[in-house]
Subunit: 327 residues, 2 copies
């Protein structure tokens, strides 16, 4: 198996050979599973696991580990245009892990879950060789509002709900602590440790007929845009990546191109949407008025396959450079 996406595709085949999904309404590979608890309702379910020394290390306060783990799940619910309902938490920890540590983890989860209407409804506790936070969350969505990642059409505008790369800059702060002015440092740390899932934005976008597809940017725009293209049987041309200020500053300090730096930055938890071209200006104007920040155009979906970016007067192919848990 060469990549996480190839592994997920193989797993989907294996699972679909074994089961009939009468009430499961979408395919494995979307941000969350969609099903129908009753005729007039749709529910979505997602899960996300954070592992010590893989997704975070001892320099990250446990409060923020809890926050990020919950935020990653809520962001998947946001990508489905849903309203969070409840979550369960399976927690693994080494022997001797203290009540204070467990309480700090839960406080971080609650700090982002409670204001977003998501109840923590129980869970499981286990010993483990490292701290593992595995959350599953349920949301509800109106049947008319369901968008997947497979609906993008040639001609649609590629847009994101905010500038990218700040979380990656927060990660790189560890190695480059002196490079930053305090406010950019704060922006990067905050984006990395306490990302805000775009729940209100997700519900608003999902309700609009001009929005054809939606997912969250969790593994980097280059990786996630390729996934949306693949699910939508479309190609994409990137014209301009909106780069967070802290990411631009960190990229330059590291001698990297800011656009490429932001393209590969995971865990931003912005939403990636495909918007009908004729409606984009109108949608973007209403979005800014409602949420006080821009819906930023990145480029266009088009016929064909693959993700390319404008470079000078030509185009270059963009390889997925984001986070892959298998490679």
């Amino acid at each position: 198996v060469t990549s996480e996406d190839a592994l997920v595709a193989q797993l989907r085949d294996l699972i679909e050979r074994h089961q009939e999904n009468r009430r499961l309404l979408n395919a494995i590979g979307d941000d969350a599973a969609l099903w129908q608890p009753s005729r007039s309702h749709r529910s979505v379910m997602t899960t996300d696991m954070l592992v010590e020394n893989v997704h975070f290390d001892a320099t990250m306060p446990l409060h923020d580990v809890g926050w990020r783990a919950m935020a990653a799940n809520l962001s998947d619910l946001a990508a489905m245009g849903s309203r969070p309902v409840l979550a369960t938490v399976a927690l693994g920890f080494e022997r001797g892990f203290s009540w204070d540590s467990i309480s700090e983890l839960y406080s971080g989860m609650l700090a982002v879950a409670a204001p977003n209407g998501c109840a923590i409804a129980g869970g499981d506790l286990s010993n483990a060789p490292a701290t593992v936070v595995s959350i599953a969350a349920i949301g509800e969505v109106r049947p008319s509002s369901v968008k997947g990642r497979g609906g993008a059409r040639a001609g649609d505008v590629i847009a994101v709900t905010g500038p990218l790369g700040a979380s990656r800059a927060g990660l790189h702060l560890r190695d480059n602590p002196r490079l930053f002015d305090p406010s950019l440092k704060q922006q990067a740390l905050h984006a990395h440790r306490r990302p805000q899932p775009r729940l209100a934005e997700g519900r608003w976008l999902a309700a609009g007929a001009a929005v054809h597809a939606m997912m969250d940017v969790s593994d980097g725009l280059s990786t996630d845009l390729a996934r949306m293209c693949s699910a939508s049987l479309a190609g994409a041309l990137i014209e301009r990546v909106p780069v967070a200020e802290s990411a631009r500053s960190m990229a330059l300090a590291r001698g990297e191109d800011p656009q490429e730096y932001a393209l590969a930055g995971g865990e931003d938890f912005e939403l990636l949407v495909a918007v009908a071209a004729r409606a984009f200006q109108h949608v973007a104007a209403r979005f800014r008025k409602r949420f006080g920040h821009a819906l930023e155009a990145v480029g266009r979906f088009r016929e064909g396959r693959g993700v390319f970016a404008v470079k000078g007067s030509g185009e270059i192919p963009i390889a997925p450079t984001g986070w892959d848990h298998v490679r």
Copy 2:
């Protein structure tokens, strides 16, 4: 923190201080969370994590690891009297873990999920320092059929859906491989590696008005009966523990008392129920007719506190001796 139950109680306090659970209908501490997706429906959600070298080791085939992880979740849904709908799987594994290994794990999960109507609806993959299988599952239950673990009343018969201790005997087979005749060995191994969640039994029992409380025996009868007593504000007197044949044989081979051995054996995944005394004979007869095995009486709930067992002409207190993930 001195025990898992104490830890769960502290967590419940922490969580309840932070959130209002408008639509969450039961308290943290039941086998699964109960909520109301629409007026006429009730859903339940549970999660359970298996960790390598904590819950299983390299001698257990990965197929059976997957089976047990899924069965533990389905058993929680059985305890709520619900019908499984779907599950998500978060899987952690070391670098170099092969596709064959992942496929074997999933085949085991599917082998118990699919026949019970539970679809695997997606999940998450991550590197980790050991194999971690974290499943969350959703079920549905009729509003009139909801039983918790808090409904047992003084006078109710304590009953279980099958004899206990076989899973523990399967675990001990590793250390005592020569002690068994082949059919008992098979019974013990099967109970340990491929436990059958009592889903049909759970739904049938939950639908009966004479059943006042229900939970699954996952951490050992001594531990789980103490939990039911505590949730029901009742005491319990054990008269006779139904012991699986393989457990009796293994206990004797180890020089232990078979009843005590079975009392402390976790992971049997039988259901523990409180049944109105006047109805018990009738319920047990119908149960046997329908399922072909006995609903076994263990003793009586009574006023007061604590779990005791009949010993000779007196009583002895029973300490929780089952599995505790914190001690």
